[in-house]
Amino acid sequence: MPSPETALSGEPESLLAVFGWYILASVLVIGFVTVSAMFLIWWERKVSAHMQSRLGPMRVGWHGWLQSIADALKLLQKENIIPARADRPVFWMAPVVVFIPAFLAYVCIPFGPRLIAEDLTIGLLYILAITSVAIVGIFMAGWASNNKYSSLGAMRTVAQMVSYEVPLLLSLLGVVILTQSLSMQTIVESQAGIWFIALQPLGFLIYITAATAEVNRTPFDIPEAESELVAGYHTEYSGMKFAFFFVAEYTNLFTIAAIATALFLGGWHGPLLPPVVWFLLKSYFIVFLLMWFRWTFPRVRIDQMIGLGWKVLIPLSFLNLILTSLVVLLLQGGSAGGVS
């Protein structure tokens, strides 16, 4: 697989190869993101239905598996509605600004031993940095809609995402200390013997809690609490623009699950089955867990939620960080002083 370094130093052929690879990777990721999001939407509806003793979509295809495709086709044909007093350019750009970071995060997700678009040395940091840009898109959507529900939803979303980004980052640092690397592949490879969930149980719990809040899912779905805010920041959106938000939401859901898999559940490691299958199985299990949460826990109040983030999760993640560093330092017996 050619890398940009060889392209910059090499001849025009390798440059072409690099572009070919980038285009191929983008097409693959776009395909995966779309299919995965449509599958997750269908799955969410099925899981929700079965947890409530319903059947969910049943009409379109076997057990309604074509339902998402039908919905996507319907959304494509919808009229493009923009509120009269909306800020048009910002209103148009917002879904794109939300979607692009969600899509770009896939550059560093390790689906298999060689199946990663680009194994950056700062992979984990890259994913966290790029996904934080989506907050801006949510703000744009809420502000441009010129609707009080949208604005309130956007402000709640941002308050929540900013609060929970801190414990999320801190909870992942424990794993980084153990592997001494930010590269996603190195992190997965160092879990060949033991999964980090065994070494970092507290980190995993903090991560799952913070991640649920990051993707605005119940019990932390205050930003789009339908009984208070209609639908939050995307209240005024319909048609394809709404679809962009929807796909981005489920893409982020999978990203969160993929990070959990790569950092805590051994990534693509597993017996018998091919690595990609293991990675997808584990990731979709985490997604299922988050869907399970939705029908198990009631929504928390906004002050309780912010309080939980700042007063419980952040101190706990600092504790986790200090304990991990201490153990690593003691085990290495002070020999890790320099750059290894």
């Binding site: 025009p12 440059l15 700062i122 940091l125 840009v133 801006v136 402000m155 320099g338 750059v339």
Partner: protein, 171 residues
């Protein structure tokens, strides 16, 4: 470096500079404050791209995480919480244009003087420092600046707590 690669790098550089400078101009000229912050974000992303071109991946990621993800978001938050901020009648500038130009001009002159006076030596091979190298240097060679920064953050933290508390007593 061969021709096409350096040409591509040049095109990328020009695009990034255009985004950075163009949006920076928009930041100070747009009448709508919300739009100005969005332009600022575009400018910050352009700067992150320039860092990437310098092979400083770590700095670029941190730049996006802190400036776009936190600082610019805070700006947007404040704007949305402020009443009538998007009112067209509201003046978005003050009368200190001339002192501002003078100060920026002086800063530019100083920077240019330093840049032109510096003895630049071209290096054969560029080896970007990894995260481990940066971490190591921060806790050895640059320990004092690192500690000063943490002191600054502590002051900001205490200040925020004090402000929040005062608000509490008043109500």
């Amino acid at each position: 470096m061969t021709e096409p690669a350096s040409l591509l790098a040049w095109i990328a550089f020009v695009c990034l500079v255009a985004v950075t400078v163009g949006s920076a101009v928009l930041v100070v000229t747009l009448r709508n404050l919300f739009h100005a912050v969005l332009a600022l974000i575009a400018s910050l992303l352009g700067v992150a791209g320039l860092y990437l071109m310098l092979l400083a991946e770590f700095v670029a990621a941190i730049h996006v995480l802190i400036y776009v993800g936190a600082v610019a978001t805070l700006f947007l938050f404040v704007i949305m919480l402020t009443v009538r901020i998007d009112d067209a009648a509201l003046r978005q500038s003050n009368r200190q244009v001339i002192p501002a130009i003078a100060l920026c001009g002086a800063g530019l002159a100083l920077l240019l003087a330093a840049l032109l006076a510096a003895p630049w030596t071209p290096v054969e091979e560029i080896r970007p420092p990894g995260v481990q190298q940066i971490g190591h240097d921060m806790l050895t060679t640059y320990l004092l600046p690192f500690e000063v920064v943490s002191l600054l953050l502590l002051v900001a933290l205490v200040g925020a707590v004090t402000l929040a508390r005062r608000e509490d007593q008043r109500t």
